[in-house]
């Protein structure tokens, strides 16, 4: 463990990331952007867990495991984002096909 870097630096980095996530969550309307904001907030929480585990509870691994679980949640979130992304793509393609001359509108 490198004791030259204080725990506060990790926490402040995580706080800034979490604040950016809050900003994105309030300001954004599209679901993908909201998912990205949530991923930011989750990432900051993971950094917090890892930093606290490494500095204050060095001989235990609970914080590390919770961080791992949060990464799994983040992967689920990424899967949801991919689904949304693909739906947008299909909608765009459908709209393009409808705009083409000679195509019937149902």
């Amino acid at each position: 463990m490198n004791t030259d870097i204080h725990l506060e630096y990790y926490l402040i980095t995580a706080v800034v990331m979490f604040s950016a996530g809050i900003y994105g969550l309030i300001i954004r309307k599209s679901r993908i952007s909201v998912t990205v904001s949530l991923a930011l907030m989750l990432n900051s929480v993971i950094i917090n867990f890892a930093a606290f585990n490494s500095y204050l509870f060095f001989h235990k691994t609970e914080g590390l495991m919770v961080a791992l679980m949060l990464i799994a949640v983040m992967i689920c979130e990424a899967a949801v984002a991919i689904v949304l992304f693909m739906k947008i793509r299909t909608k765009e393609e459908q709209a393009k096909e409808e705009k083409k001359p000679g195509t019937k509108k149902l």
């Binding site: 463990m1 952007s33 930093a51 060095f58």
Partner: protein, 174 residues
């Protein structure tokens, strides 16, 4: 010494990229910024000597990069239709909320003054290392919860596959 030099770089990259990820209107750029953010986070885990978490984050980052490179049809350069210009009031509320949260948390952090760990030098039996990783996974309640997380992920992917099949079927019918 290396960590002292690299840590501020990782921190600044993370802060800049996280702000850019929420302010950009392009979905593709947002994904690119998220991948850079994951790489920066893995650097922070390296500085904490949590190599397992760093490796997982790097794999995630690589996944996003591969997805963007291999699937060029997924790149949307134009902003989404629902992303219209925000009102000033909404922006002001968002900035105030984020700044208030940051201020309160930073004041709490500075007031508490957490003491850093001062363990024996050259201790190689680190919790983030791969030696302690598998035993702690199989210990107690952590394995079932992890299994549930991965089952949820598989379910999401399966739902997507099913919905895609239905969409193609409906298109064929039409």
């Amino acid at each position: 010494m290396t960590a002292q030099i690299l840590f501020p770089i990782f921190c600044s990259v993370i802060i800049v990229v996280s702000v850019l990820a929420v302010t950009t209107r392009s979905v593709t750029m947002s994904a690119v910024y998220t991948s850079i953010l994951l790489a920066g986070t893995s650097g922070i885990f390296f500085s904490l000597r949590l190599f397992s978490l760093a490796a997982i984050n790097l794999v995630l980052c690589a996944g996003i990069v591969i997805l963007l490179v291999r699937k060029p049809e997924w790149r949307i350069k134009t902003p989404l239709p629902e992303e219209k210009r925000q009102t000033w009031l909404r922006q002001a509320i968002a900035i105030i909320a984020a700044a208030a949260f940051a201020a309160v948390t930073i004041i709490t952090i500075v007031r508490f003054r957490f003491a850093p760990y001062s363990g024996p030098a050259g201790d190689t039996n680190l919790p983030g290392g791969f030696d302690n990783f598998i035993p702690s996974l199989t210990n107690g309640w952590l394995l079932p919860l992890l299994m549930i997380s991965f089952i949820i992920m598989t379910a999401i992917i399966l739902i997507k596959a099913v919905s895609r099949d239905r969409e193609t079927l409906e298109k064929k019918k039409n």
